[in-house]
Symmetry: C2
Subunit: 345 residues, 2 copies
DNA sequence: TTTAGCACTCGTTAGCTATGAGTGCTAACT
DNA sequence: AGTTAGCACTCATAGCTAACGAGTGCTAAA
């Protein structure tokens, strides 16, 4: 059985109608939605073929047809006409998102909000990953006799700080030693290389100052660790309730999202144009077998760095939402790149 | 109609049985759960009275009785025997919570997790409010030619930082001016008083340096604003799904929680022992009319400062959970007080 | 005041039927 | 050979009825 142009048109019409209404679509309904005239019987024959080919299925014998994962896949890869984001909208989106400009976390949170509102789905975003990032700067700010704030700035623009209590009073020498060790061992070093091993050899080499200084470097290493793990932000989870076909699995999905770790994995795959669409059972988590995930990565200064995603029912309006996601990830990437340049200068 | 000891025993038994099973309780069931022997008919008569008095109700004519809001209230205020938190448990709780020691946000997040796990409810926590807090310290850390990090430490121990780009190159004078102005206008000042008005007069008084310096003070004021608003943390929202009687309203409750603002209000009322229990329709949000809220405030250095709360179905195990919440808020308060002392020193 | 007895209420469940949307198949048509 | 009209068939859904049973309120006796 091979695909014909007419079958393709029928498949596309079924997918689009089902996405629109959520109801299985029957042959008569379809008659009115095709740009050529054939009888319902003909459509029925074609649809039976499409079922056999694996693109459609019937919830039960006497119901209309619903796209399968394979059907959506074929539609998205070969049939779909992406809807351009119109100008008014793109401007208003860009404006909303850029109101979070400044702090990466705030920006991604804002982007997540915008996406959630726009798509009526749950939004997931990851902060710019610091994998290739290194320590740009470290600061030691004495706060009291024995307490200091340690501040870390990475080359990716991430800013982390932490209060840290030492075991001995802080003197001018303490500060000087801190900066000296930083300059020698931390500045310019990739975050990945700052681990317990590196820390131990460092502390060992401090000799008589180990006791005095080590708490601060432990704190600094902690900060590096925090900066390294690309945090996951969630927005609009409640939107999942709006989709009836998900009603049974909302709890499971939320539970999955809650433990952020696997989520970043969710966002990490996929290549073409930094876009990744996973439909229903294509997802590796079975909690998502009734859901689709659209992920678009964003680039900061040309390097892939984080991603924006949505989770919704399989019957997403792909033609509209994929361009949205691409547009927004573009905006986010641009803003982050600009922010970074500001730091360089 | 007046309350009698026997009616009280019956009411308590109904409440406890309903909390345990979730099923309306009938007169025969009750016979086996009372510490005195009377026939089901007698119990029926008494229960009919309790219905008339407003403490019980029937879902429908031929069903057992269920406590009303009033019934729960009477039970909690007069009948309930609080269950002590046993020692093993209290130790393990204290240990889990204190693993978040250090950063207030982390601590409250941890406490929320513990509460959510322990109670199988959604947990809400607020960070220590900074209402009476003032600026303890401000730091200016040059990062690049035109960018600096502004770091704010409050007397409540909150640490906030922000990257900030000025319009002119940063020189040694810039730094000196920053600290001079801070010492004169910010250090020791209550956060509440740092607003746009204060900022405007300040900028005006900067004279020729206004252009150079104002971005940094704007950032500092921003940080003060952030430190002031007592953030709300949510944990274990997914637990709401575990309670069948909430199934219809989970989405509404989550939506309510999402917009953190009214939630802090939720936590703010109530007095006795810093404890506040709101049952069903006692809640001012109608989304919560099927839910109960238990809130316990914590004190930092003797002053009330934030709160921990849970949201669950009305049939909560109050006798167990109220002591839990009081215990945990005590632990949190103690840890925060200790942390603060560390900073003083 | 308590209790046994009994008629009554009403939610729940199971079984039955009618309905209708939608199908597959066959035979006639182009 | 592809297309179409016609028709019997399938099956989820809604509505109806009857049986069931948990639990009640009330009455009359203890």
């Amino acid at each position: 059985m091979e695909m014909t142009p007419r079958k393709e048109k029928i498949l596309a019409a079924v997918v689009e109608s089902y996405i629109r209404t959520g109801e299985p679509v029957g042959s008569k309904t379809l008659m009115g939605e095709l740009d050529f005239q054939v009888s319902s019987a003909t459509i029925r024959n074609e649809m039976a073929d499409l079922v056999e080919m694996g693109y459609l299925e019937q919830p039960h014998t006497s119901a209309g047809r619903v796209p399968t994962t394979l059907g959506y896949r074929y539609y998205i890869d070969k049939l779909m006409n992406k809807l351009e984001v119109n100008k008014d909208e793109s401007e208003s989106i860009a404006k909303s998102v850029s109101s979070g400009r400044g702090d990466p976390e705030q920006l991604l949170e804002k982007a997540g909000e915008v996406i959630a509102r726009l798509t009526n789905c749950a939004a997931i975003t990851t902060l710019p990953t610091g994998e290739q990032a290194c320590v740009r700067r470290a600061e030691f700010v004495p706060v009291s006799n024995r307490t200091a704030m340690i501040v870390l700035l990475t080359s990716a623009g991430t800013l982390k700080s932490k209060a840290c209590r030492g075991d001995m009073p802080i003197t001018q020498q303490t500060v000087e030693r801190f900066y000296a060790v930083c300059a020698a061992h931390f500045i310019g070093k990739p975050l990945e290389e700052i681990g317990t091993v590196m820390l131990q050899t460092l502390v060992a080499s401090l000799g008589e100052f180990a006791l005095e200084m080590s708490p601060y470097f432990v704190a600094l290493a902690d900060l590096a660790g925090e900066a390294l793990k690309s945090d996951v932000l969630l927005e609009g989870q409640a939107n999942l309730f709006n989709h009836r076909e998900l009603s049974g699995s909302v709890a499971d999905i939320m539970e999955l999202l809650r433990k952020g770790e696997p989520v970043s994995k969710l966002l990490s795959g996929g290549e073409k144009d930094g876009l990744n669409v996973k439909i229903g059972t294509e997802n590796e988590y079975k909690q998502l077998s009734n859901s689709s995930v659209i992920v678009s990565r964003y680039n900061v200064n040309g390097a892939r760095s984080g991603a924006l995603g949505i989770i919704g029912p399989t019957r997403l309006n792909y033609a509209k939402l994929i361009p949205y996601m691409q547009f927004i990830s573009g905006v986010v990437g641009k803003i982050l790149s600009e922010t970074l340049e500001t730091l360089e200068d």
